[in-house]
Amino acid sequence: MTEVRQEVLLGNEAVARGLVEAGCHVVASYPGTPSSEILPGVVRFKKELDLNTHVEWSINEKVAYEVALAASYTSKRAAVIMKQVGLNVAADPLMSSAYTGVKGGFVVISCDDPGPHSSQTEQDTRFFAMFAKVPALDPSSPREARDMVKAAFELSEKYYIPVILRPAIRICHARQNIAFRPVPELERAATFEKDPDRWAATPRFRYVLHKELNEKLKAIEADFEQSELNVRHEGWDNRLGFIAGGASYSILLDTLREMGLEGQFPILKISTPHPLPQQLVADFIAGCERVLVLEEPDAVIELQIWDKSKVLGRLTGTVPAAGELGPEVTYRILVGLVEELGLPVGPYLDLEELDKLVADLELPVRRSRLCAGCPHRAAFYALRRTLGSKAIYPSDIGCYTLGLNLRAVDTCLDMGGAVTIASGLYHAYHQDGKDVVVAATIGDSTFLHAGIPPLASAVHNQAHFILAILDNSITAMTGMQPTADSGLLADGRMGNRVAIKDLVQACGVKFIEEMDPYRVKDFEALVKRARDYIRQEDGGVAVIISKRPCPLYDPTPLRENPVRVTVTEECDDCKYCLTAFECPALVLDEDLGRVVIDRRICADCGVCIQVCHKGFIVEEPLQ
């Protein structure tokens, strides 16, 4: 007997395992919390099992979507992975491919972030499934997420349709023990069968395809009525019933058990939120006096229910309309409903009392900030110091959004938004005859993702602003995924390098300079030159490439050339370094009445020496 290998997997690794166990041939992704660990998981299994899977970090989600989709055209199994807002970027091919359909199984994995914890919106991917008219599956645990990948491929191949798998953050970042299943060898030679009425359909044929899509959806709904993915738990008290899916379902189960109500109320678990199996849901509701719908982040199941007269949920205000539906919120809702039924609710701790006591302690707020040694901090410091508070600082999505703390980030809209907002701000002021200094910041990966067309457009339309591309050689925020500029591929091999500098040049930018931001004074001088350039009538966009690797990604430069700093006893506690530079390794020692270095986190970058104009931060004398 072969031993079943079991491992505690992150939800995202479980999805990766599901992909290899489904024999998926092509996997493309762009990183974004909470989805980032899925592709590296596939790489891990590919290496361990010596698989021939094509894996790639594409330059953005639209590209990833289309690369994977094309593999499906050739009858292979393919998947594209992204975070929920990434699907906005890939919305164009999603909508169109729903009509054209697919050939080999094609699964769109889009990870939601109720909360939100690490996103600009709490948008619900399941709405995209409704919008595009494609089915969506919603796992309630890592183990189920692994299993659903296979179900998604089978559904996709049965109806030749893209299938969305929507794990939410509490599934992606949950850990659970999972027994591995064998990885099959799925032979699928690439075969693209020409069918222009489908793959190159003109509007006349699109109408035909739309009708076909509607038929597919009807058939899929009929399948979902019988699907084992949806589970009905009976209960002996039908005064209340629950319809729940995803993490909300798991949280409901644990909460009911903790309340001693396991088995009391009927529960309908919906893992197929779109298309909703209407008959299954209607039958369930008919057997209950009232039904609470628990789902997140939005009311996708609830909105689809035909007869809502007995339904409680977000639309009735029973469930909050924003924020995560965690165990505490679920518990509060349940306590309210259970008390209405006249049932006893067990004793619970007075957490409100504790919350108040803790609030009275006025603990220091622990806000997220750039790491010690972060090159972005040095760049922001120089920008802000040179351009002051009158300049406007559009920024973008990444670690460097935390430049907020250094007051060098004024806007953060979406991927690539720094460049377009800078351009729009310039024109809005310029037409009034007032020219403000606009200094935008964007990371290397974000620039490659969505900054190139905005830059070309800004140059073409004669915008004047400074664009600092914060090139730390890596996609740091999401866990160190390589960029096209580095040339590294998803599986660690070397590909072709696409240099940011060359791209900037090709966009028509005339002012391009690279600088190590650790050289604060030189960087400040460069910012001044850039400002002078954008103020010239014949100036334009000035691009500064701030170049220094993320020390978490590549610690070698600092290890080889450490600058060990110390604060002299003369430090007069003026707090300038604490507010203007905000390095977590600079801490105020209340007892000493001066700033000290937190040796546990100091990265030995030495940049703060250039920040203390009084000269109280110095290189530690050699002993």
């Binding site: 919390t33 659970q176 798991s250 644990d254 957490l351 009392e353 803790v358």
Partner: protein
């Protein structure tokens, strides 16, 4: 066994590694494990909290007021996550001062029969020349107190297996020192940048 644990602190304190020790051991003992961790923006110096549920559970999150055990690697985070503990729960906090709780919170602990212990794990680890092994010192200390349903031997064995080779010895030393409850160690000459992951 049904056990709910919360591990809290700030990024860089090895909370995920500490969680892994418990989950690996529980799995080996034949239990199901499920839990949840912090990623992304929240990791940049923000609070980090790890949930671990061992036994028959469906959801990865521990509800406030229900945890059996809280291990906090930071005093402020201990205050912030104290609400996770159930009545009669057990709590271990990394703190240089033994009796650090604010009097108002002490009242809460007593009223709810929460047993709270503190141990200067940072200090101990720093003295060992391995500041980043504080997580293991605190775990070691916790195992010396009755009520944690794991044995010293089993956890030690697990540390051996899950530690990367170059950190194994220093991790074990920190763990053992914590277990013996030794709070002051003669300072070791040289580096203060050792580490454990």
């Amino acid at each position: 066994m049904n056990l709910q644990l919360i591990l809290s602190g700030v990024g860089g304190q090895g909370i995920l590694f500490a969680t892994r020790i418990f989950s690996t051991l529980a799995l080996e003992q034949g239990y199901n494990v499920i839990g949840s961790e912090t990623h992304g923006m929240a990791q940049r110096g923000g609070s980090v909290i790890s949930h671990l549920k061992i036994g028959d559970y469906s959801s990865p999150l521990v509800r406030q007021g229900t945890a059996d055990l809280l291990l906090s690697f930071d005093r402020d985070e201990a205050y912030r996550t104290l609400g996770f503990l159930k009545r009669g729960g057990l709590c271990f906090v990394n703190s240089p001062k033994e009796d650090f709780w604010d009097p108002s919170i002490k009242g809460y602990l007593e009223k709810n029969e929460i047993r709270a212990y503190s141990f200067p794990a940072d200090k101990v680890a720093l003295a060992l020349g391995a500041p980043r092994s504080a997580n293991l010192a605190l775990i070691g200390y916790a195992l010396s107190v009755p009520g944690v349903p794991f044995t010293y031997e089993d956890i030690r064995e697990t540390i051996v297996r899950v530690s990367p080779p170059r950190f194994r010895d220093v991790n074990l030393t920190a763990f053992d020192t914590g277990y013996r409850g030794e709070k002051s160690i003669p300072p070791k000459v040289g580096g203060d940048r050792g580490g454990a992951q």
